[in-house]
Amino acid sequence: MKKAWIWLYMLTKRLFRKYSFLIILLLIPLAIPLANTAMQSESGVLRIALCNAGTDKNAENIIEELLSSKSVLLYKKYDTAGEARRAVETGKADAAWIFAEEFSRKAEIYIKEKRPATMVTVLERESTVPLQLAREKIYGAVYPHISKLVYTTFMEKEFTGLFSVEEIQRYYEASVGGDDIIRMEKLYKTEAPRNENYLTAPLRGLLSMLVVLCGLAAACYFLQDTKDRKYDWLSPRKRILPAFGTCFAAVAASGVAVFLALHIAKLNVGFGRELLSMLLYILAVTGFCTLWAVVFRDAGRLGACIPFFVIGMLALSPVFFDMERFACISIFLPSWYYLHAIHDTAYLFGMFVYCVAVFGVTALLNVLLRGRG
């Protein structure tokens, strides 16, 4: 056992002698929080150019409310309709909402005369579903104004002469609607990391790829050492031990760097869950990389396959999106378990089973491929 620790220490020390590897490891906990901070500043899924074509006060109030609202739509005010149009034409904005010159008058025509009246002109470059959805927010924005008009018109018509204009307004101002009719809930009860948004969500996935990459690169390193006959003193079947040690050194080092980066950037979900997930992930990735070292037996061949592994994992693990229909292939990837385990503890057990399976298969293949050596 003591020998094993000494070997692990020596292999790790050898890895850290490569300054470029060390620099990259140190960069992770530094760069990720910086990137995360940059992503926290104002951003939006869609950029909407707002413009009041005239001087209507109601339109101006609605625009101010939109500008101060918290939304995934990023609003920017333009002084003229021409500027807003140019912003859309040149791709600076995805759409422009231009409030009509006589906005209030148009609203009255719409409500009192029940005729179509263009209160807002929407300019778009292409019709997409997100932009169609965003248009619903136009109605939501003008609705308080329309709702009040409907009420006022209705009162004047149904209770003719009974109320003064001021009385009608007073009852409206004093009234309060009911509670919210929709409540939001999440299926995964895990509290989202404090700094996570749709931009930083892929960071964890990308970092998990980096850990696998470090492991695969270390496996290449081991195969190169084998080719240089550094392990000739060991029987072929026992060479799996330094293979495991080399991969583990690289994976553990990068795993620690990733763990720190997630905590510093406040992208973690909780110390205990993160620690357990990362420990299991380190073991799973070590097994995965050792397996391919046993299978390929040549550094060049394994190195050439690394892009395939990396791209495959990017596509099949839930980094940017979850391709559930390929779950039958994804279950062979350690990153799939890790990224799911953050939100669903069942995957922690799955990862444990994966570790056992991958080490078992590696040991078996080692015996079969290396013979009795």
């Binding site: 940059a38 992503m39 500043s41 951003s43 899924v45 950029r47 149009r85 040149t90 791709g91 719409y110 179509p116 807002v120 929407v122 292409e126 019709s127 579903v129 248009r135 619903e136 927010k137 136009i138 109605y139 609705y143 009040k148 409907v150 209705f154 009162m155 149904e158 609607g177 919210d180 009719i181 929709i182 409540r183 939001m184 809930e185 999440k186 299926l187 995964y188 895990t190 996570e196 749709y198 931009l199 969500a201 790829m209 470090c214 690169a217 290449c220 690289a250 190195g303 050439a304 892009p307 395939f308 990396v310 791209i311 990017l314 596509a315 999106f321 979850d322 559930e324 953050i342 939100h343």
Partner: protein
């Protein structure tokens, strides 16, 4: 050794390694295509694939909720954005986990009746949790907006009832409440007549589909640095020193290796453009830039993209010169490829990012290359973008020469 002999040696080495490099690249491109098709899915497969699928859980038979959903599906403008699917709760949870739906609404019993009686027992809109997708966040905002609209309507109705009761005019009050309800529902269903949509077309910038095509090309070129590792990492340092001793300058060595790498890259990109040419024969709908595309369109695009190929290969040559050893080389290539690809907007539209990050993304080499490709799709690329590509190419080659000279000088001591 003469320069020509060294150049030929590098070309021979590239040619020898090419079959295995190409085999891996084919697999890599297949996976990138899978990613690309998933991202572009909504554009390629028609309207229905673009819609947001929302589950409805609750008793919708013979109830106002059922009528409301039918109205939304058939009469309301939201039918172009949403598809509502009735399902049981377990089914909805499973569909949500598989991300077949963006979320589901669980309406309690007598949901609509309660609202009409002024008792707002909320429906629950359930999303997955964890990292929210963009569609989920947008849908959530619309759901909150709908809630606000209903409470605004209630405010008006309560105000009317309070006013009527204050004046003792309670006869026929319930009919008036119903009439007001109907008036609000009419206005809601015909809300699209309150605004007018003008489609400007994509004249001065690419469509989302065209954007992702350029993004995938840049991403492939960035990852090519890892695929071609066998060639770049196999250069002999001993031979380089010998060549220097025999009078072949570092600059000449670099250029011989660079041109061999460039030939490898160009050949690979050209071969894949031939494959893409066959795809063009399928008459792909949904991406305006591809309308009227022929078998030769991708090949012409490759020739237009030569400045980008020159720059990316120069950058990767420089990176391989900076690092020694398999581990560090591949790590650096990966970090640069993913980092640059992400920030330059290859994986997410750059417009999603804050302005600072967008600005950084556009001045990175990948961002400049990306802009160039998008400009090429529309018309002749901007002269400034051309210039920046050449500057970056020259800079990376200069850095490569400098690093090798320093290394040789250091080894000489």
């Amino acid at each position: 050794m003469k320069k020509e002999m060294y150049a030929r040696l590098q070309m021979k080495r590239a040619w020898k390694l090419y079959p295995s490099i190409l085999a891996i690249t084919v697999v890599t491109v297949s996976v990138i295509l899978l990613v690309g098709v998933t991202m572009l899915g909504g554009f390629l497969h028609g309207e229905d694939k673009q819609k947001f699928h929302i589950g409805i859980v609750g008793d919708v038979t013979d109830s106002y909720l059922g009528i409301g959903i039918t109205a939304l599906q058939n009469m309301d403008s939201s039918r172009f954005s949403f598809t509502f699917m009735e399902m049981e709760e377990e089914e909805a949870q499973e569909a949500l986990r598989k991300q077949e739906i963006f979320g589901y609404v669980h309406a309690p019993e007598n949901f609509i009746d309660n609202i009409m009686n002024g008792e707002n027992v909320p429906a629950t809109f359930v999303t997955l949790g964890g990292a929210e997708r963009i569609g989920t966040v947008l849908t959530g905002e619309v759901a909150e907006m709908v809630s606000d609209i209903v409470t605004e309507c209630q405010r008006s109705m309560y105000a009317m009832q309070d006013a009527a009761r204050a004046k003792g005019k309670t006869d026929g009050l319930w009919e008036k409440v119903k009439a007001m309800n109907i008036r609000y529902i009419e206005d809601f269903l015909f809300r699209t007549s309150s605004y007018e949509v003008e489609n400007l077309g994509i004249a001065n910038s690419v469509s989302m589909g065209g954007y992702y095509i350029c993004g995938m090309v840049i991403f492939f070129l960035l990852l090519w640095g890892i695929s071609s590792g066998r060639f770049m990492m196999g250069r002999s340092v001993g031979l380089q020193k010998q060549l220097l001793a025999r009078g072949m300058s570092v600059t000449r060595q670099i250029f011989c290796e660079y041109f061999a790498f460039l030939a490898l890259t160009f050949l690979t990109v050209f071969l894949f453009s031939v494959g893409a040419g066959f795809l063009m024969l399928k008459n792909i709908q949904g991406i305006p830039e591809l309308s009227g595309a022929t078998f030769f369109t991708p090949m012409r695009f490759v020739f237009t993209a030569i400045p980008v190929i020159l720059m990316v290969t120069a950058m990767q040559t420089a990176m391989y010169e900076m690092t020694s050893g398999t581990v560090s080389s591949i790590l650096l290539q990966f970090i640069v490829a993913i980092g640059m690809g992400y920030i330059s907007g290859c994986l997410y539209p750059s417009t999603f990012f804050p302005e600072t990050v967008q600005h950084i993304g556009t001045i990175l080499p990948s961002g400049v290359g990306f802009s160039y490709l998008r400009q090429s799709m529309l018309s002749v690329p901007d002269g400034r973008t051309w210039m920046w590509l050449l500057i970056y190419t020259a800079a990376f080659l200069g850095i490569t020469v400098w690093i090798r000279k320093c290394r040789m000088a250091g080894d000489g001591q």
